[in-house]
């Protein structure tokens, strides 16, 4: 089943992580902040990739899970000042419980109908956050305050958060890739490719689908937590339905079903809008939209597949041969 030697995979992952971490020494705090947010998106996109790319369930709720994780993190930090791992884990768990429930409609609905219902969750976030102001700070939001770096590390807050972001993003990619190759992941792919055949093989659709949603919500929540810690502020305006669509863009751009592609997707979603706005501050959206259209036109399955097609290799380096 392995399409790539394990050792090579570990080497690539370790090297990439090391390179990213070393960036903390050379990059200024502004860039570190940007990359930490990109890491947050990466974690969320990995989660979305699991439910959309692997399990084949349309989900436009990832932005909502991101928001829930961000708010959970903010609330825990503001009220209890707990350390990062605790807060992020709690955010992930809380969000995954909601994700499990959000996944229940997937048992009945498919395609566009599931898309709209999950989008509904994303639409509900801002009004609910506004209303429940005793918990969420309402429209004025919550301020997470300065991050205290543990003494002895000699890192600035931005470097510290960046390291966390990179490590968690790497962990997310690794874990999700392993899950994708595990029996559970194979069951998910089977559900994606042909539900009825999967049922025929004994796959329990209920657990696979809700499990996929719960998993995607976990990652989404942790990603949201990293985002909240990095920006230091949460407010309803940051979690509009467009975020769910942007995360989906990240999944597809990186290659749906190809977990490591989430990294590219995250970088695309974080940085291309900024470059677009730099071209003309009034036309940032236009250029970003054009970038998406062009990317999808010429690399509909992600750049790595396009690259391997270009190289002409039916290479075993990245992909199994796919039947259409």
């Amino acid at each position: 089943m392995n399409d790539r030697p394990d050792a090579l995979r570990w080497l690539l992952t370790a090297t990439l992580t090391a390179v990213m971490l070393s960036g903390a020494a050379v990059l200024g705090s502004f860039h570190l902040g940007q990359l930490t947010v990109a890491a947050a998106y990466c974690i969320a996109i990995v989660g979305l990739n699991v439910v959309v790319g692997i399990a084949g369930q349309v989900s436009l709720a990832q932005g909502a899970f991101f928001a829930i994780g961000a708010y959970a993190t903010a609330i825990l930090r503001v009220r209890y000042d707990l350390p990062f791992p605790v807060v992020l884990l709690a955010a992930g768990v809380v969000t995954s419980l909601i994700g499990f429930v959000a996944g229940l409609p997937a048992l009945r609905l498919r395609g566009h109908y599931l898309a709209i219902v999950t989008l509904g969750l994303s639409v509900a976030v801002a009004p609910v956050a506004n209303r429940w102001s005793s918990l969420t700070g309402g429209g004025a939001g919550l301020n997470l305050g300065q991050v205290h770096v543990p003494a002895g590390l000699g890192l600035s807050p931005e470097q510290y958060l960046y390291a966390w972001g990179v490590l968690l993003a790497a962990a997310a990619v690794i874990i999700a890739s392993r899950v994708a190759r595990s029996p559970l992941g194979i069951a998910m792919s089977a559900v994606r490719d042909n539900e009825i055949a999967a049922m025929g093989m004994g796959v329990d659709l209920r657990w696979v689908k809700t499990g996929a949603f719960a998993a995607s919500a976990f990652f989404g929540g942790v990603g949201g937590g990293v985002f909240a810690l990095s920006v230091g502020f949460v407010a309803p305006e940051n979690f509009l339905p467009m975020l769910s669509l942007l995360l989906l863009v990240g999944v597809i751009i990186g290659g749906s079903g190809f977990i490591p592609g989430s990294i590219l997707g995250a970088l695309f979603v974080q940085f291309v809008p900024d470059y677009a706005a730099a071209l003309d501050k009034h036309l940032g959206g236009v250029f970003f939209g054009v970038a998406i259209i062009i990317f999808i036109r010429f690399m509909p399955e992600g750049p790595l597949r396009a690259l391997s097609a270009l190289l002409g290799t039916r290479n075993r380096l990245f992909f199994k041969r796919r039947s259409t």
Binding site: S29, A277, H282, L283
Partner: protein, 407 residues
Amino acid sequence: MNWRISKAFAGAIASVAVALAHGPAAAQGSYKDPGISDTQIKLGGSYPFSGPGSAYGAVHDGAKAYFDLVNSRGGVKGRKIAFTVLDDAYQPAKVVSNVRQLVEQDKVFALFNIGGTAHNLAVADYVLRNGIPHLYLNTGAIVFAQDRQRFPWTLIGIPAYATESAAFARYIKQTRPNAKVAVLYQNDPFGQDLLEPFERAAKRENLQIIAKEPYNATEPSVDSQVSKLARSGADVFVSFTIPKFAAQAIRKAAELNWKPMQLLTSVSASTDMVLKPAGLAASQGIISTAFLKDPSDPESANDPAVKEYVAALKQFVPNANPADPLRARGYALAQVMVKALEGMKSPTRVALMQAAMNMDADVPMLLPGIRIQTSPNDALPMKALYMERLEGERWVIMGKPLSPSLP
């Protein structure tokens, strides 16, 4: 109100000292702070140039026009103003990243005219930690003026929302003491910062608010809320809304044949954007507040300040319509900024703050009688407002400026 200025200022100066001690070696000769040199002062701004809030990007046009005008006349004490701006699509997280970029990459001397309450709250900690002047915000949230411990480097630029709310309550009490008031408000810090002081002021004046309805700016229409308010039987309608919804509300009220006395918050008191689309007939008698000279008013066409504004816009931002009050606002706030820059006793951020916090100035685009006044105990630059009423096609100023005490 306990301003706690001196303690906060000591804290601010201490934080500047700390920042300087840890900052990069000063490679600018005799200048302690970045962003200022013999020839240039760099200011940083973040505006919503894209996305649903992009109408507010118009404020930048006015500011740019004034800075360009000042530069064409030689700048401030020989230093030209370089105003670097970024798009934030009206998202607080983007404002945070923009401010970091402006401070760390573009090395601006001060931040100017950032808009949005949550947006400015989001950068408050960063600004405090790094000792960056955060001036003439495009928001009227009173918390920035009152909590000097948290916001010692921050000054709002427009009159506080609470001032307008107090003025409204006073006006209603004077004209219809037994009024039954209905309020439509935007469900975010902008609307809430207008509503809460209004509720307190109403209580103070013994006014009855019998109905209040929120709306989310992401909704298509406020018709249903206006219907609900009309059914309450109120005879005064207070509208804390942005232009699109203000226009919808006026139109719907007319459609329902509901004819209350209407008070409209000043950001939506635009003839072109709100009243004409909603229908001038339906808008007669609407009350609002004003602090700026109105470039769309034919009677102010001969005012030298307005003439200068119109000419500057034409020269430096050619396709911008001068009648938009947001542009006039940007121009006026830029005038205040330049006054602060002119008042600096030395080219440092602390000196800029001292100039800004000790000002008593007349600014050309402001209505006569409204001055910019600050002192170490008073961080509210504009404390007075005029009431105005729509008559025919123009806003007519009523009486003398009011300086209501804040509720």
